[in-house]
Amino acid sequence: MVDVAVVGVGQTAFGELWEKSLRNLGVEAFTAALKDAGVDRAAVQALYVGNMAAGYMSSQEHLASLFADHCGLMPKPVVRCEAACASGSLALRQAWLSIKSGAYDIVAVLGAEKMTDVTASTAVAGLMAAGDAEWEGAIGLTFAGLYALMARAHMHAFGTTREQMALVSVNNHKNAMKNPYAQFHSAITVEDVLNAAPIAEPLGLLDCSPLSDGAACVILASDKVAKRFAKPVWVLGSGQGSASLGIAARASLTEMPSTHAAVADVWKQTGLHNKDVGILEVHDCFSINEIIALEDLGFCPKGAGGKFVENGGITISGEIPTNTAGGLKGIGHPVGASGVRQIIDVARQLRGDAVNQLNDVKRGLCLNVGGVGGTAIVHALGVERK
């Protein structure tokens, strides 16, 4: 079986990038990843693009051609992948499968999203397309509303508190302070989070990741060619799960069955388990989702996520350092880019060139969630090939 390594990473700054279009962002991240890998674009055999909403936000579909042209890859194949906020890791997974299949030895994965060319209300409406537009969007639910319902259910079932959720945002902002690519470089307190303007109660402004522009790119290589590269980080496993598009059909509002399926597949592929992982990236689109992710991935029992956070489990020195570069809340959440950005931040930790660098970390895990868990994708990365 072919093994796959991340051999180069690159990203743009995340934030309100008024002077950069989707095209500019994608090319900038792709170029940075090539440079990091030390490879010429001529060696890249295919490009997988993760993007959720370019048609809605930028009136631009057909990103395959756009990026084939502007990344200088014509006439090679480019594929656009879409699974809402999990689009980036979906693209990564398809690229990983393509190398596994033996079709390619070197491919690039680009996640990109341009969200601030439309008004906030337009963006919020567009993001609801990640949920069930016909059954749940039409009655007026927004994404913050969906996660607010999950937060309420979690609070009701397990006694999770707003303070515990607030600590998630506090930790992510703290970790983002030194990240040069992050949208926010501001330390916040639990009080700041609790007193922020309500968005969808119990979630306030600082429980919610921002609207952001940004792009992230990784270069993947087969084991056959990976030894040519200076700093390979191995993709040990890739798992994907699905669940209902909306939340009405779910048996429980406090968990994501798609995450269970995705992580179980990764454990099966790799023979690893939670104890083998030293760094975690989760999808903190809303603070409650980091708590749900910790539980669904098995880092703590169901219902204990709030306490786990309260006890410092996610901090840099905690049981499982989580979102060490700042997460979606601190770094920003250009939705199609976030899944690739998570891979980059774990790869940097494993290479030893991360912000908030951990000591002696060998393996990491990434969870990227699409919508309210309609799609969940988990990747395991490691310094060693096996």
Binding site: W18, E19, T116, A120, A197
Partner: protein, 344 residues
């Protein structure tokens, strides 16, 4: 030496509190007022418009200048709420003020900086010797869409200036910075403007105000410490205060011009109303810097040197603070009627 020979302003009597607008839209009024730094805004009466406000301000400016209205050879009126789409406001204003009919005249529109553009043109004609005196007026009854963020600040008011010889504040220099930046606009036929939300901040207001202020200072060889009094365009209080801090201008240099707190954003009259507030207190020998901002987008910067003559003319017309204090509060329903927001 050419510069401002007289200044005057007008602020309509009615006010609506930020909290009253917030009450109707079920928002937190104190949070909004504190965030914007605007606690109430001036509301024109049903029979007031950009023309009547301009006339009131113009009368005060002529009174301070002490010149014969017949010696005024140019009038430029800047507004984004000219009552007519076609037919100048300026012709009405000129007749009402009794200006000469041998008159260079045009209306200007450049969002919130049409008034300073008017000032540039009047000054240029006077400096070129084409006219003895000229007038520039910025006047607006600004529109804010009901329920929109701009409704808390869009206000009515005007500021007028006579430019010519023997000034109370000589123009030391001017500088403009212009780009195509669509942060705020109103299409032909539209009743209310649209805006780009957060895009109106960093790439719009701050980028242009900063570029114009720096450009002027570089052109004249000035440092922040050389400026005694300063006013930047005031879409709210938050934006100019942040910009003042970036330049290191202390509160004592801008406080007298921060009229937006109790008047709101009077658009074409905004930075000029602030200039009036500074002239109300300026001492001979002081240097005043003015930087406007107009969406679309551009900024005009001026540097003025206050002369001894200011003391002689100051008391000839009402001060900004007098007009700010003369007020009567209206509720939202009355505001809707006065500003014709209930479209029939």
């Amino acid at each position: 030496m050419i510069g401002i020979a007289g200044w005057g302003c007008h602020i309509p009597r009615f006010r609506i509190r930020t909290s009253e607008i917030a009450r109707v839209w079920r928002k937190n009024g104190s949070d909004i007022a504190n965030s914007l730094g605007v606690h109430e805004k001036a509301v024109a009466d049903a029979d007031e418009d950009a023309i009547t406000l301009a006339v009131e301000a113009g009368k005060s400016a002529l009174a301070r200048a002490g010149c014969d209205p017949q010696s005024v050879g140019a009038l430029f009126v800047g507004s984004e709420s000219h009552p007519y789409a076609v037919k100048p406001s300026g012709t009405v204003v000129a007749e009402a003020l009794g200006l000469s009919r041998k008159l260079f005249l045009a209306d200007h529109e450049f969002a919130c900086k049409a008034g300073t553009a008017a000032l540039q043109n009047a000054y240029a004609l006077a400096k070129a010797g084409e006219i003895q005196y000229g007038m520039a007026i910025g006047s607006d009854t600004a529109q804010g869409r009901p329920g929109d963020a701009l409704e808390y600040t869009a206000a009515s008011g005007a500021a007028a200036f006579v430019v010519g010889p023997n000034p109370i504040a000589a123009v030391e220099g001017m500088f403009s910075y212009t780009t195509d930046t669509s942060d705020f606009w109103r299409r032909e036929g539209a009743h209310y403007p649209s805006h780009g939300h957060r895009f109106t901040g960093e790439p719009a207001y701050f980028a242009h105000v900063d570029a114009a202020a720096r450009g002027l200072m570089e052109k004249l060889g000035l440092k922040a410490a050389d400026v005694d009094l300063v006013v930047f365009h005031m879409p709210n209080a938050k934006f100019p205060i942040r910009a003042y801090k970036q330049f290191g201008f202390g509160k004592e240099k801008w406080e007298a011009g921060l009229v937006v707190v109790n008047v709101g954003n009077t658009y074409s009259g905004s930075s000029l109303l602030g200039l009036c507030g500074l002239l109300d207190v300026a001492k001979p020998g002081q240097r005043i810097m003015l930087v406007s901002y107009g969406s679309g987008a551009g900024s005009d910067a001026f540097s003025f040197m206050v002369t001894d003559k200011i003391e002689e003319v100051r008391a000839r017309a009402p001060f900004v603070r007098d007009l700010v204090a003369k007020k009567e509060y209206v509720d939202y329903g009355t505001y809707v009627r006065l500003r014709n927001k209930l479209r029939r």
